[in-house]
Structures are given as C-alpha cells and as structure tokens.
C-alpha cells in the first residue's frame, strides 16, 4: 500500500508537503489514501498524469466521515478551498487537515475558527453570525428568545470594546483561555 502511493506523489512533493504542514511522511501518505477514497478513479488518474491540482467537488469532499456529520461542513470546505467554492484540491485538503491536527498551534486554529464562524465573510463576528452559530451548534432546537439571550451573554463575555461585534483579536483571546478548544478543534483521518 505504501509503495503504490508514494509512486503517485513524488519525493520532492512529499518533502515540500512535510515542510508546509505539520505532518510526517507516513501521515501524508495516509491522508492521500483518504483523499483518494473520495473518488478513486478520478484522483488516481490525475495523479498519475502528474496533475496535482485535481479538484474534488464539494459533494465528494463531504463524503468524508468526519465532515459528513458536522454542522459546519459547508463552512469548513469554503474556508479551506482556494476559490471559496468548496471544491478542494489535494493541497487544500492537506491544509485543512494540517490546521485541524493535533500539532497545529492554538493561534492558528483560533484564526481559522474565526473564519469558519464568520458566516457572512465580513471579517467580524456580529449578531447574525452568532445567531447562526448558536442555532447550528444546538441543532436548531432552541427558541429564538433563548438564542437571543445566549447571544447577548456571549457578547457580554467576549466583546471587549463593546461595539456589538467580535473581532479576530477578541475571539482569539477568548479561545486562548479555553483549554477545550484546541482539543475539540481537531479532525483526524
């Protein structure tokens, strides 16, 4: 199994990937295997032809078990894909898993979490974003008044400059204090 994969990705490429992500060679090959399983023929063909930029459609990417059942799968794919459409190349895929691995530093994770939770992509988390976030996390089970109350509380806790939105710095500050965050913000393939 190892030989056939390493033949598809050149050594030089593996070296580069190792430098750019937090993974070892073995882990990269393992990740490649899971990437291939999304659509074996397409990927294998492309890689054998040397085309490393083959894109997996959004629908194919979310077949991955860890993503399929996550309430944030669309945001994750959007944030990590190059053109924001959700279609990911192998680089994007590696990037995503690298950021969400155990070895990534907390700050990096916090930065990406901020991007994921910023639903309207305006560089700050405002009330609408928080509303959406709470709803998704509770599986749309709570009433609107409760959700509003919770959003109020969150803003009270986190918003340092009291302008009604959370900036990246405030967000990361909050997450830095929580020990569970870096443990939970992980996907392992």
């Amino acid at each position: 199994m190892g030989n056939s994969e390493s033949a598809l990705i050149s050594e030089k490429q593996l070296e580069i990937y190792q430098l750019e992500t937090f993974f070892t060679r073995k882990e990269i090959l393992h990740i490649y295997q899971s990437f291939e399983n999304l659509n074996p023929d397409k990927v294998r063909e492309a890689f054998m032809a040397g085309n490393y930029q083959v894109k997996m459609d959004y629908q194919e990417v979310i077949q991955l078990a860890e993503l399929k059942y996550s309430p944030f799968k669309d945001r994750i794919c959007r944030v990590f894909s190059e053109d924001q459409s959700g279609d990911m190349t192998f680089s994007d895929y590696l990037d995503m898993l690298s950021v969400m691995s155990m070895q990534a530093p907390k700050d990096l994770k916090a930065a990406y979490a901020f991007k994921i939770y910023d639903f309207n992509d305006d560089d700050e988390i405002d009330r609408t974003d928080l509303d959406e976030l709470v709803n998704r996390v509770t599986g749309f089970r709570m009433k609107t008044e409760d959700v509003d109350g919770i959003v109020d509380e969150i803003l009270k806790e986190c918003d340092m400059d009291e302008n009604g939105t959370l900036t990246a710095a405030e967000f990361e500050d909050i997450l830095h204090k929580s020990p569970e965050f870096s443990a939970n913000f992980n996907i392992e393939v």
Partner: protein
C-alpha cells in the same frame, strides 16, 4: 503548477524596498515580510484579507511556546515573520517561503564565515528537533489508533498526547530497578493447585521475585571494576529503592499539581461559560447519533447556564429549604451508615484477636491446599459436603477482598440513585456529590483493608508466634509475605469482579437494549452512559492498592501495567458497542487538578501505612533481605554511621524537631508571600482592563473631535484642507501607536 511558481518567484525576487516603489501600497507598516504577504494576498483572487495580529512580544512568545514542529519560521531572520505567516494557505506560504529562502541566501553570502557556520548550526538543530518530535509522535503514541476510534464514537475525552494516567503506571514499571530474576523453583505438577496458588499468592508464588520473601540478604560482589571490590548490599538497595520510588512519585505528583493549580486558578477568574460551550464544538464525531447527542448536550448545558443565572436571583422559600435540609441529612446518614456497615462487616469477618482463630484460618486454607490431590481429580469423588467446606474455606480466605471489591462496584449505583432523590438545583452539584461519596467509599474501604493487614501482621496480632513456629509456617513464611499476598489477592479478585461487572452492566444491558425492543420502547431502558469520572476514580483506587503493595511485592508495577493494558482493551470493546456518549464532559484544568489531588491523598494514606509498618514492625528472621536485622532502618543507619562525621552530624540534626519547625515556618512565609503576589496581580488585571476601556473611549472622543474639526475647517481656507486623507490618518495613527491592546489592532474602526 511549477511554472506558475516560477513566475511568482521571478516577481518576488529582490529587496522589499523594491516592492513599495513598484506597487502602490499603504504607507504604514514597513516590515519586510508583511510586504510579501500583502503581495501574496493581492495576487490571489477571492482570498479574504487576513487580519494582522499586532506583532507584540507576548504573541510571538506564545507562538513559539505552542509550536511543536512549526515549519514556517525556519528561514525567517525576523521573529515577526513567523507570527504573521501562519494565517495563509499552502500556496501563499510556498511563495513566502521561496522569498525568504532567497533573501536568506543573499544575506548569508554577505555574512562572515563564522556567522555562516552558526546559522547553519541553528538550522540543523531546528531540523533535528523537528525530526525528533516526529519520531516521538510516530512511534511513541500509545494506543493512538484505539483512542481515535473511541473518540470518533463518543467524542473527545482524553488528551492522548500526554497520557497522564498511563504515564503514572509506566513510570512505576521503569523505576523498578531491582534486578529481576525469573520465577524461582517450586513447580507443582498439579495444575489446579497451581492456579489456586496463583490466585492466592502463596505456595510457589512465594518463591518468586514477586514477593518480598524471595529477596536474598546476601550481598552481591563484583570483582570486575577496578581495584576494590564493589559490594551491592541487597538490603540497603531494597530499602533505598522502595523509598526513592515513593519519594519520586510524590515529587512528580506535587510538581504536576502545582502546575495545574496555577492554570485552574487562572481559569476560575476568567470563566466564560457561554462562549466556551458555543465556540468549542467537538469536530471529532463521525456518526449522526453522536452528532445529535452532542447538540442535545450543548442545548442542555446552555439551558442549565441560563437557569443558573436566572436562579441566582430566585431564592428558595424557607420552608422548602428546611425540608431539603432534613432530606439531605437523612440521605447522608444513609450513605454513611451503608459505608460503615460494609466496613464493619468485613472487619468483623476477617479480623480476629485470638491467634487460635487465625490458626483455624490457616488450617482451613492448609486443608484447601493439601486436599487437592496429587493425582487427577475424579468427578465422582466430589462430595457435596466437601464442596461446602471448601467453599467456606474459599470464602474465608477471600472474604475481605470480595467485600472490598464488591462494595466498590455496588456503591456507585447506590449513590447515583440517592443523588437523584436529593433534589439538587444544579446538575453539577449532584454529580460532584456522587463522585465525592464514591471516592470516600473507596478510600475508606482500602484504608480499612490496610488497617486490618496492619493489625493482623503486627506484633499485637501474635506475629512472632503465628508465622514462625510450628506447623503453621507452611502457609506464609513471613508476615511481609502475608501482607503482599493479601494485597495481591485483592488485586486479582478486584480484576475478576471488575470483569463480571463490566459483563453485566455494559455488555448484558447493551444486548438487552438492542435485541429486546420491549425494554427499550416501553420502559425506556438505554445503554449505560460512559462515565469518565467514575473510571478515573476506579483508576485512583487501583493505583492506591498497587502503591501499598509495592514495598512488599516489588514486581507489582509489572502486574499493574499488564492489568491496565487488559482493562483498556476490554473497556474499549465495550465502549464501542455498548455505551452512549456522556452527557457532560468537564475537561477543564480544575477537574484535572482535583483528580491529581485525589491521587495525592491516596498516596499520603499509603505513606502512613508503610511508615507505620517500617518503623513499628520487626523484620522477620526467616525471609527477605532484612532478615537478621532488628529494624528495617538498620541498614541505612549502619551506612550512615560508617560514613564521615559530617554526614552523621547532618543526619542527627535533621531528625530533630527544631529543624522541622523552622522549615514549617519558612514554608508558611513563602505561601504568604505568593498569596499576596497573586492578590496584587488580580488588582493589576482589573486596572489594565479599566485602562483598555478608557483608551477606547478616548479614541472615540478623538475621532469625533477630528471629524467635527474637519467639518468646521472645510469652511475656512486652511492649509489643512490640502492634507491628504493618508496624512490625517497617519497623524491619528501616531497617537494610536502609543496605545496598546485591541484598539490598535482594529483599523477597520476608522
């Protein structure tokens, strides 16, 4: 792709200053790496511009502290580069890395030979560290795959990159520096007999390295090294290894505890219940069930949090308060009575004051051992009466262990039921009370067990007569072996009962729930919940037993490791099929701190036990490395007396109480000092928070003034009109640059 890369390479070649002349940029920051980043950003269509983090000291320190293999900062000559380059995609990073590589090469060629060598060394060390980390990750990750499976099923549970509990056991094994020898002689042909003796830790087991009695008192001499013969005093070695093992455990635990205490204290001050629930969604789940369950959990904790806040203002009526008060007294007395009852039961069963009944005990067991014939057992020969007698004998040997282990399985269920009736306002207090009671129960039972051992083995129990004279010496050669064997039995029985309980509570119930629809739909029977704190308490309990047994059975840590491995795989199999994820998982530093505290308490109780045994009992004269000595401490004191006068002086004086009192006073002073330091730091934090708020307000005022000023000045013909927007912004920024914190990091506020 390579061509594209080459293109960008050519464009990026050159000094940073060439960028600013060739392209129009904002004039503020002029860091080299930031320019490259901006360039990289503007090249990629659709990438969201990245928020810059203020390249402050604390930030870069945090980055470097967190990093266990960061690849970005390797080639960058400046620290700020590593701080900023991380928020980018692979593609961007690649471009930056190439820029930096070339810059570095350019710089390097301009450096002196000496500096070149140093820089190469730094790079080499960096690479080696990364390699070492990688190897550590690939090969030393214990149970990584298994834990991944469990976590995928049940959600995040344990920080398996620093397995605290497993290290506790592994370090036990590694520290056991006694020379280990293979099982000794005394091999019984009869299989049944052997198995029984394996269970009871007598007979052939006594002759193994497992038990204290085996260790010789002779001294090993080696004629290899040098001029003098070095002598390895076994007795001294045994004593020192034992003591150092305990000392090391204590020190490690205290170090860990102090680290956690700091973190938990910080945590308490800055608790953000809502944000920490909402922002820390667990991304590890890989099936719908768990995902659903997680969102339900989140809903519940949020609701609870809301209720708590609401109820802070709602007080219960006086009458209900009194009612609840009495109810709780009642339930607590029931619990305490139950605990004392079980304890009394087995104390009464086992402990007797007369040597006569102990002789009977050994007699029964002797019968048990001797009755098993050398020839094979014929099934027809078995009598009912015989069996009864044998069962009675078995019970009398094992009764203590069975009661202790049994109580540890039954009582948690009992406590949980009681907890349901006590009408606590908050879930957390209910869970806390149940766990507290469970811990007290376990502690109590083990302590009483140790107490019984102490009584039975000690001189007041007729030590000298019972073990060393006459026919009754067949069973245990010495009292140390008796203690070791009893603890060993406890471990074995505990393991068996644990397996049975696992079978009944999890496997059987899971089977019922999946197959028998009636129970699931009508009665609402569910699979049992995976209760992490309960498992942890169980581990604390097991560890306590191993600690108390260690001094008398030095190979016990090996057994501990084996048992832990087996238990892990059993629990894993059960967890994947028969349990549902826990409703609340509390993982903060405070809970870890409490757990370590529990370990410490149990260790201290073990210390008391071992200390009493060492200082009060006389080593038996028939076995063990201390035979012939009057006291256990004799070898050590002999060594001290033979060494120099200075050492003797120190030891003599350290033993006095005045030294102890002085140390106590010093420790008290240190505590007072640190406490006042912490209090003053709290005050500083509050002041800084005020300052941040004031500065933000101040900046708003400045902005308003500026806007008003520019409006009023537009009417007049002034030179200020010709100031460009950039100029005005620059003026404002210069004022800002003196302010710290969030204000400076949010340029979009302007």
């Amino acid at each position: 792709m390579d061509e594209a890369e080459d293109d960008e390479k050519t464009r990026l070649v050159g000094t940073p200053s060439s960028y600013s002349t060739s392209l129009s940029l904002e004039e503020d920051e002029v860091h080299t790496n930031q320019e490259a980043i901006r360039l990289a950003e503007s090249d990629n269509v659709g990438i969201v511009p990245v928020d810059e983090e203020p390249p402050s000291e604390s930030n870069s320190i945090r980055n470097n502290a967190d990093i266990g293999g960061d690849s970005y900062g390797t080639f960058s000559p400046t620290k700020s580069g590593s701080g900023l380059a991380k928020n980018l995609t692979l593609h961007q990073r690649r471009m930056i890395r190439n820029t930096q590589k070339q810059e570095f090469k350019r710089l390097e060629s301009g450096m002196k030979k000496k500096d070149q060598v140093t820089s190469k060394c730094v790079v080499f060390v960096d690479h080696s560290l990364k390699r070492a980390n990688e190897i550590k990750r690939t090969y030393f990750r214990i149970w990584g795959k298994s834990i991944k499976e469990i976590e995928g099923h049940l959600g995040y549970m344990v920080d398996h990159h620093s397995p605290k509990v497993e290290t506790l056991y592994n370090k036990d094994d590694l520290k056991c520096t006694n020379p280990k020898f293979v099982n000794g002689t005394g091999f019984h042909h009869d299989a049944l007999n052997s198995v029984l003796q394996l269970l009871t830790g007598t007979g052939w087991m006594e002759n193994t390295a497992m038990f204290y009695g085996w260790y010789p008192t002779s001294n090993l001499t080696s004629s290899i090294t040098g001029k003098e013969k070095t002598i390895y005093y076994f007795s001294l070695a045994y004593f020192t290894v034992g003591c150092s093992y305990f000392a090391l455990s204590l020190l490690l635990m205290l170090a860990n505890l102090s680290k956690l205490f700091k973190k938990s204290a910080a945590e308490q001050m800055e608790s953000k219940p809502y944000s920490s629930v909402v922002f820390t969604w667990d991304y590890n789940v890989n099936n719908t069930e768990t995902s659903q369950l997680k969102s339900v959990t989140v809903v519940q904790s949020l609701k609870e949090e809301l209720d708590e806040d609401a109820q802070e203002h709602v007080k219960r009526e006086l009458s209900t308060k009194i009612g609840i008060f009495f109810l709780r007294i009642f339930t607590n007395t029931i619990c305490i009575a139950a605990m004392i009852g079980t304890v009394y039961l087995y104390v009464h069963e086992v402990l007797t004051d007369s040597t006569e009944s102990r002789a009977n005990l050994t007699d029964n067991c002797g019968k048990l051992v001797r009755k098993a014939p050398v020839e094979a057992i014929d099934l027809e020969d078995i009598d009912l009466e015989d069996i009864e007698e044998q069962m009675a004998a078995v019970w009398s040997t094992y009764s203590a262990s069975i009661i202790v282990s049994g109580s540890n399985v039954i009582f948690p269920v009992f406590f949980q039921l009681v907890g349901n009736y006590e009408m606590y306002q908050f879930q957390s207090t209910r869970i806390g009370m149940t766990l507290f009671r469970m811990f007290i129960m376990k502690l109590f039972s083990v302590s009483t067990f140790l107490y019984i051992l102490y009584k039975a083995a000690g001189p007041s129990g007729g030590n000298t007569e019972g073990w060393q004279t006459g026919e009754n010496t067949l069973f245990y050669n010495c009292w140390e072996d008796y203690i070791a064997a009893q603890l060993y039995q406890l471990i074995m029985i505990d393991f068996i009962i644990f397996c049975t309980a696992l079978l009944l509570s999890e496997v059987f119930r899971g089977f019922l729930v999946t197959r028998v629809a009636f129970l699931r739909d009508r009665i609402g029977l569910t699979k049992p919940e995976f209760n992490i704190p309960k498992e942890i308490l169980d581990l604390v309990y097991k560890q306590m037993i191993f600690w108390s047994g260690f001094y008398f059975a030095p190979l016990l840590p090996v057994l501990a490791v084996i048992e832990i491995i087996v238990i892990f795989y059993l629990k894993k199999a059960s967890a994947l099929n028969n349990v549902i994820p826990p409703k609340t998982v509390v993982l903060n530093h405070q809970s870890t701190f409490t757990i370590n505290g529990l370990f410490l308490i149990s260790l201290l109780i073990v210390f008391v036990f071992i200390g009493l045994v060492i200082f009060n009992f006389q080593p038996s004269s028939r076995c063990g490395p201390f035979r012939g000595y009057e006291r256990f401490t004799e070898p050590l004191s002999a060594v001290i007396e033979h060494s120099g006068a200075f050492k003797r002086y120190i030891v003599d004086n350290v033993k006095t109480t005045s030294v102890f009192i002085i140390l106590l006073i010093l420790v008290g002073l240190l505590i007072y000092y640190y406490r006042s330091l912490a209090a003053s730091r709290n005050v500083t934090i509050e002041l800084l928070r005020e300052q941040v708020r004031n500065e933000i307000a101040g900046k708003q005022v400045l902005l308003n003034m500026h806007q008003q000023g520019s409006k009023s000045r537009e009417g007049k013909a002034g030179k200020n009109k010709f100031d460009s927007i950039e100029q005005k912004r620059k003026n404002l920024r210069r004022k800002d640059s003196r302010m710290h914190g969030f204000a400076a990091a949010n340029p979009e506020n302007f």
